[in-house]
């Protein structure tokens, strides 16, 4: 039977690891390729790179990172951030990424999902969703709303509706990030994760709030996520991916234990 996936997420700016990635250990802080290799060796099942490069003239640096990662690790990886159109997607995929994650661009122009799925296959297109808890209303009956621009801008779009719509448009997977839980290390938003996972037929990656292996166990069982995104808990070297997998194995949650 299929294993639950553990996916470290690396934020990259101008080709370097950044944002809260204050490594205490002996990992090279500068190079996302080296860190990706380290996580690959620890048994990461997949890696997500998030390009937070602000200026468009520096975007080519990320393409170079993607190319070097593809030569170094032999597991799937995806790239998100700054993907605005089909050309952006093509560049990332040709450089060696398996998947491309679209977030704000998909909200602003949903046809990018369909175009991407048609050009590269649904399995290549991940719908990234940033979600905040709101009051249940006619506009947001699920009580969760899609936000963009790093959580600063409310869109008025209901998160559950958008997840289903994204699937209909051709997304092959959803990466579901709770802005409320993000960075807290207090655990994933389990209600949100279960709500989305139960109502779509494509895999859901839970994101935001992971601080301990118990949090992953919760989101992979109660939250019914297919995969769990992690960041700080491994970047700060509080845990290794191997330790997390061993814990999940003790809890009878199936992960890939041999690599």
């Amino acid at each position: 039977m299929i294993s639950k996936r553990i996916i470290p997420c690396l934020d990259v700016r101008d080709g370097k690891l950044t944002k809260g990635v204050k490594f205490k250990g002996n990992i090279d802080i500068g190079d996302p390729v080296e860190v990706a290799r380290e996580y690959y060796e620890q048994g990461a099942d997949e890696i997500v790179f998030y390009d937070i490069t602000a200026s468009s003239d520096k975007r080519d640096i990320m393409i170079d990172v993607v190319r070097r990662v593809a030569e170094t690790i032999f597991i799937p990886f995806s790239v998100g951030g700054g993907i605005r159109n089909l050309d952006d997607m093509r560049r990332v995929i040709l450089a060696g990424a398996e998947k491309v994650s679209v977030n704000s661009a998909a909200v602003l122009e949903p046809k990018i999902i369909t175009q991407g799925a048609k050009a590269f296959g649904s399995q290549c297109v991940v719908l990234g969703m940033d979600v905040k808890k709101v009051d249940e209303s006619r506009q947001t009956p699920s009580g969760y709303e899609i936000v963009i621009e790093g959580g600063r801008k409310y869109t008025g779009i209901d998160a559950l509706w958008w997840a289903k719509e994204g699937e209909n448009l051709g997304a092959g997977e959803i990466c579901l990030n709770s802005i409320d839980a993000d960075g807290t290390q207090d655990g994933y938003e389990l209600n949100l994760t279960a709500l989305i996972s139960d109502n779509v037929h494509i895999p859901v990656i839970a994101s935001g709030g992971a601080g301990t292996p118990e949090h992953l166990a919760d989101v992979l069982t109660t939250g019914r996520a297919d995969a769990a995104l992690i960041a700080s808990m491994v970047h700060y070297r509080t845990y290794t991916i191997t330790q997390i997998k061993n814990y999940l194995s003790d809890q009878k949650i199936k992960t890939r234990l041999l690599w």
């Binding site: 039977m1 299929i2 294993s3 639950k4 996936r5 690959y40 099942d45 593809a70 030569e71 032999f74 597991i75 799937p76 040709l94 060696g96 398996e98 590269f120 296959g121 649904s122 399995q123 092959g172 997977e173 779509v200 037929h201 494509i202 895999p203 019914r224 297919d226 995969a227 890939r256 234990l257 041999l258 690599w259």
Partner: protein, 208 residues
């Protein structure tokens, strides 16, 4: 020399990078002269059956594969390259190459495991139960897992063509092996060390 068939279908560079990593020389080509000169051929693929077959027919590579398989030299199918070596695929109702009798089917809706609905595509890591030993799977721990991403699976008519099966709410054929042909639904080029070992084994396999 290993040749990777270039037919405009997805993951060819991933396979090339994996071969590079294991120190294996290769060519990527759709030129049948160069393909004829190869010792081993890899037939990868990501995408849809209909489009892939249209392209292969246009380049007459479907006919070339029929000839190659009769030379006795090794052929490896990967993912879509495995699905379209059967007679027919339910994806886009496509007539396929027919190196192996049988068809490629879509996973049924409402697959479940332990009471929970399973998602389609089958995306992620899963294991393979081998029915017998095979040189391409030597030096690999039986509990190894491989990376899958697919909504369709190969279903050969002849049970003896099934080398390995995988469980996803149902048991499906994940590895086919007939004489000098080995074909897998998962992606060895994206399956970490066991996947690289499969590619290495294939490159030194004589086809028997």
């Amino acid at each position: 020399m290993i040749a990777i068939i270039d037919y405009n279908a997805g993951n060819i560079t991933s396979v090339a990078r994996a071969l590079h990593n294991i120190g294996q020389d290769f060519v990527i080509t759709d030129d049948t002269k160069k393909l004829n000169a190869a010792s081993h051929v890899i037939f990868p693929g990501v995408g849809a059956a209909g489009e892939a077959m249209a392209y292969l027919r246009q380049k007459k590579l479907d006919a070339w594969l029929q000839i190659w398989i009769n030379t006795g030299k090794p052929l490896m199918g990967i993912c879509l390259g495995t699905q379209i070596i059967l007679d027919y695929s339910e994806e886009n109702n496509t007539e396929c190459i027919g190196l192996v009798t049988g068809s490629t089917k879509r996973f049924p809706e409402h697959l479940s495991s332990a009471g929970l609905a399973l998602k389609i595509p089958h995306m992620g890591w899963n294991s393979v139960t081998l029915k017998r030993t095979h040189p391409v799977f030597s030096d690999i721990a039986p509990e190894s897992e491989y990376y899958f991403v697919h909504s369709y699976y190969p279903s050969p008519s002849d049970e003896t063509a099934v080398l390995g099966t995988t469980d996803y709410g149902m048991s499906f054929c994940s590895v086919l092996a007939v004489k000098n042909l080995i074909a897998m639904q998962f992606h060895p080029e994206k399956s970490g060390r066991p996947g690289l070992q499969i590619l290495k084994n294939f490159c030194s396999w004589g086809g028997k």
